[in-house]
């Protein structure tokens, strides 16, 4: 590859192809969103049910563009100290102790209190400089020369205050550290925010982002995804198992199986040397797909019809 990093984001089709090369099966919508995000320099807010590959998209982008991925996992109580930057207090303290004597020497020449103070103020910036700055994911992402993918995961789990902190980062790609000044990203990172809709996000945040909704994939795309992850699976089995999972998602259950669970199931079936789906096999491996006992019981009576439908469709 002659081009690297952001330069490869030349067209929507190039993005689809690039993502496919690292094993992420994209859709028209996803690629369009990435293309726009890059060209308009806007963050993307991705919403959708759990397990449809929101986080994976960011990781795949980083791999495809061969740049670093900076991930910030949000949770309740997350503050700027954990997300933006922190002072290395311990180190500062240690240095003050170590430099105490040295300071004494420097101060030695000062006859009066005023003179000592003047001397001291000339060293003031020493302890509040970038040496003692501990960058957290947001700041790290700003500092990459080659650009980076900044993933702010599950933003809906953070507090509203934190959302407000993010606004500066997201709209101007800069971080203000009161003691030092404003640190601006030389190459703006590609920012991806994900949300599971635990709470409604603020309008201010939504306004600044492009919005992408990823839903459970169509049968065809899901087949392609499983194929990419589990290359050994036979065509017949692949089609059957994806059809089965798709049927399962239409049922009234607490947690619908995600893509990663389909992939796990495909691996399981492969391990058991299954060539095609039969009812018994499905029953014994259902716990890979469904993680709630009540769900397994709820689909119990539907397993036979679903398995048959999937088996006969081929």
């Amino acid at each position: 590859m002659t081009k690297t990093g952001y330069e490869t984001l030349t067209s929507i089709d190039a993005i689809t192809a690039g993502l496919a090369s690292v094993g992420y099966i994209s859709t028209r919508e996803i690629s369009t969103a990435i293309y726009l995000a890059h060209n308009l320099r806007k963050p993307i807010l991705i919403e959708g049910p759990a397990g449809v590959g929101k986080t994976d998209l960011a990781a795949s982008m980083a791999r495809y563009l061969d740049i670093s991925l900076n991930r910030l996992q949000c949770y309740e109580g997350l503050d700027e100290g954990k997300a933006l930057y922190e002072w290395k207090y311990g180190k500062q303290l240690l240095y003050t102790q170590l430099l105490k004597e040295k300071l004494g020497e420097v101060m030695d020449g000062a006859g009066t209190l005023n003179a000592a103070f003047d001397k001291l103020t000339s060293f003031e910036d020493l302890f509040y400089s970038e040496t003692f700055l501990e960058p957290r994911p947001l700041l790290t992402a700003m500092q990459q020369d080659k650009g980076s993918v900044l993933l702010i995961d599950e933003i809906d789990k953070s507090d509203e205050e934190f959302e407000a902190y993010l606004l500066e980062v997201l709209s101007d790609y800069q971080v203000t550290v009161p003691e030092i000044g404003t640190i601006r990203a030389q190459v703006p990172p590609l920012v991806i925010l994900t949300s599971n809709n635990i709470r409604e996000l603020g309008d201010a945040l939504k306004r600044r982002c492009l919005h992408l909704h990823i839903d459970f994939p169509e049968a065809e795309r899901e087949q392609a995804i499983v194929r990419a992850r589990v290359p050994d699976v036979s065509d017949a089995l692949l089609k059957q198992l994806v059809d089965f999972v798709q049927g399962l998602r239409d049922l009234d259950i607490r947690k619908r199986p995600s893509i990663s669970e389909t992939v796990d199931w495909a691996r399981t079936l492969l391990l058991m040397h299954a060539t095609e789906l039969d009812e018994e096999m499905v029953r014994s491996t259902l716990n890979v797909l469904l993680k709630h006992e009540s769900d397994i019981q709820a689909v119990d009576k539907d397993v036979r019809t679903l398995a048959r439908a999937a088996a006969t469709a081929t």
Partner: protein
């Protein structure tokens, strides 16, 4: 031209309740500059990514996109050549003159003329379906209907066979043109006006007395209730911890800074925890109150996102716990069942209060808001004020809602004035707006 297309589309979106800020409009313009109008599918993907920010907004966006871009001539980057040719082919004084259009009968020219006439008539301003005819008339006027009519009268006046036939032809043409203009205006209404009409209807509905609602409004009401619930949820789902910046939490500070030799770098402030909201609803489901109760409970149960603890009891003669019955998907059916099974006996507030005391007294605690919904008409039975006073003492707040106006309180068998001193608030509720206000106020107490 291209900008105009986008601006009009954004207007249409706004009328359909999709919030588009100026910033987003600028983003959209830039995105379109990047993508171009050539590929329709790509344009759709782009605009829905930039402009629509939730699943419902995306749905509205897709619907409008189809409506809007199905009729818009796709603007090209070079000046549209065909428009010029159609202009030059006509006699110069107005390319879209009806007569010329009728004579030439060119499909694209007619569509183009309609578009222009629509713009001249200010079709983007259309809000109600009743305006369709009016706007169609306006469009005909700007298309030059007068000249056509003049020609027609002229032909009639000639009193020749040919003239007669020509006039008939013109009448036919006029009819056809008018129906096309109507069609055009109707489509514009669906694009720009339908959303606004819906919003208007909802506003009216929110102010209508619940007891006066039509059966056919019930479905729409459910949508409205959901909207209100969402609004309340957004407002009250703020975080539950509140930092009390003024007071230092000494113990926590010391603990946090043990690693720094006790030098307090990180200061920890005292925090106050907000109570989780808990609502106990006691509802009279007899007679006239039942209607209001239905919507009150519907709203309450739509709120379970913010209020995790809801207990609901229904009574007329005796009181029963209806929480389990209501915790199903089919709310309306559950409500009917409750009203039919419990609401049939004669109302007895005293008996119901003592049922509450006997079986459910533990549900009332200091973080509870007790909401009673009823007219307080107890058929001259003992109102058991002692029990009500005791209940009021146990809970955080007592709110009494009644469908009757204040002038009726205390008339006949109404015991409201006697219950009143023990309530923090006693209010008349008639509309869904009233219910929203009350719940808003009740939830605000949990700050």
């Amino acid at each position: 031209m291209a900008e105009q297309v986008l601006t009009d589309f954004i207007r249409a979106l706004r009328s359909a309740d999709v919030r588009v800020s100026t910033g987003e409009a600028i983003d959209a313009a830039e995105a379109v500059k990047l993508i171009g109008y050539a590929d329709r599918q790509r344009l759709l993907d782009t605009l829905r990514c930039v402009l629509a920010k939730s699943p419902t907004e995306k749905e509205a966006h897709d619907r409008l996109f189809d409506l809007y871009f199905s009729r818009q001539p796709v603007p090209q980057s070079e000046p549209p050549a065909q428009e010029d040719s159609s202009e030059s082919s006509s006699e110069g004084e107005g390319p879209g003159d009806l007569l010329d259009l009728l004579e030439n009968g060119d499909e694209t020219a007619i569509a183009m003329a309609m578009e222009r006439a629509g713009q001249e008539a200010g079709l983007q301003e259309i809000r109600f379906s009743t305006q369709v005819s009016y706007y169609a008339q306006q469009m005909m006027k700007s298309l030059g209907i007068e000249r056509l009519e003049g020609e027609m009268m002229q032909a009639f006046r000639e009193r020749t066979e040919d003239g007669q036939a020509y006039a008939e032809e013109l009448i036919e043409g006029r009819k056809e043109m008018f129906s096309r203009a109507r069609e055009h205006a109707k489509q514009a209404f669906e694009t720009y006006g339908a959303g606004a009409t819906l919003a208007f209807r909802e506003d009216v509905l929110a102010e209508t007395a619940l007891t006066a609602l039509d059966v056919r409004d019930l479905g729409r009401m459910q949508v409205l209730v959901q909207k209100i619930a969402k609004r309340l949820a957004v407002k009250h789902s703020r975080r539950r911890r509140k930092k009390n910046r003024g007071q230092l939490d000494v113990r926590k500070t010391l603990r946090a800074n043990a690693g720094f030799d006790g030098v307090p770098f990180d200061l920890a402030w005292k925090q106050t925890k907000r109570d989780r909201a808990k609502i106990v609803a006691v509802c009279d489901v007899s007679g006239s109150v039942a209607r209001v109760v239905r919507f009150f409970l519907m709203l309450l149960y739509s709120l379970n996102e913010v209020v995790p603890d809801i207990e609901s009891f229904a009574f007329s003669g005796r009181l029963e716990d209806v929480g389990d019955t209501l915790a199903t998907d089919d709310f309306a059916a559950a409500m009917d069942k409750i009203i039919n099974s419990i609401g049939m006996s004669s109302t007895d507030y005293g008996q119901s209060l003592s049922d509450l005391k006997m079986n459910h007294w533990n549900t009332l605690d200091r973080r509870t808001t007790l909401i009673v919904l009823g007219d307080g008409r107890s058929n001259y039975g003992d109102p058991r004020l002692d029990l009500f006073r005791e209940a009021a003492g146990r809970v955080k707040r007592v709110i009494w809602l009644t469908p009757e106006g204040e002038s009726l309180w205390g008339s006949g068998d109404s015991e409201l004035p006697r219950y009143r001193p023990h309530c923090h608030t006693m209010k008349q509720v008639t509309t869904i707006k009233d219910l929203e206000r009350i719940l808003d106020e009740a939830l605000s107490r949990y700050q």
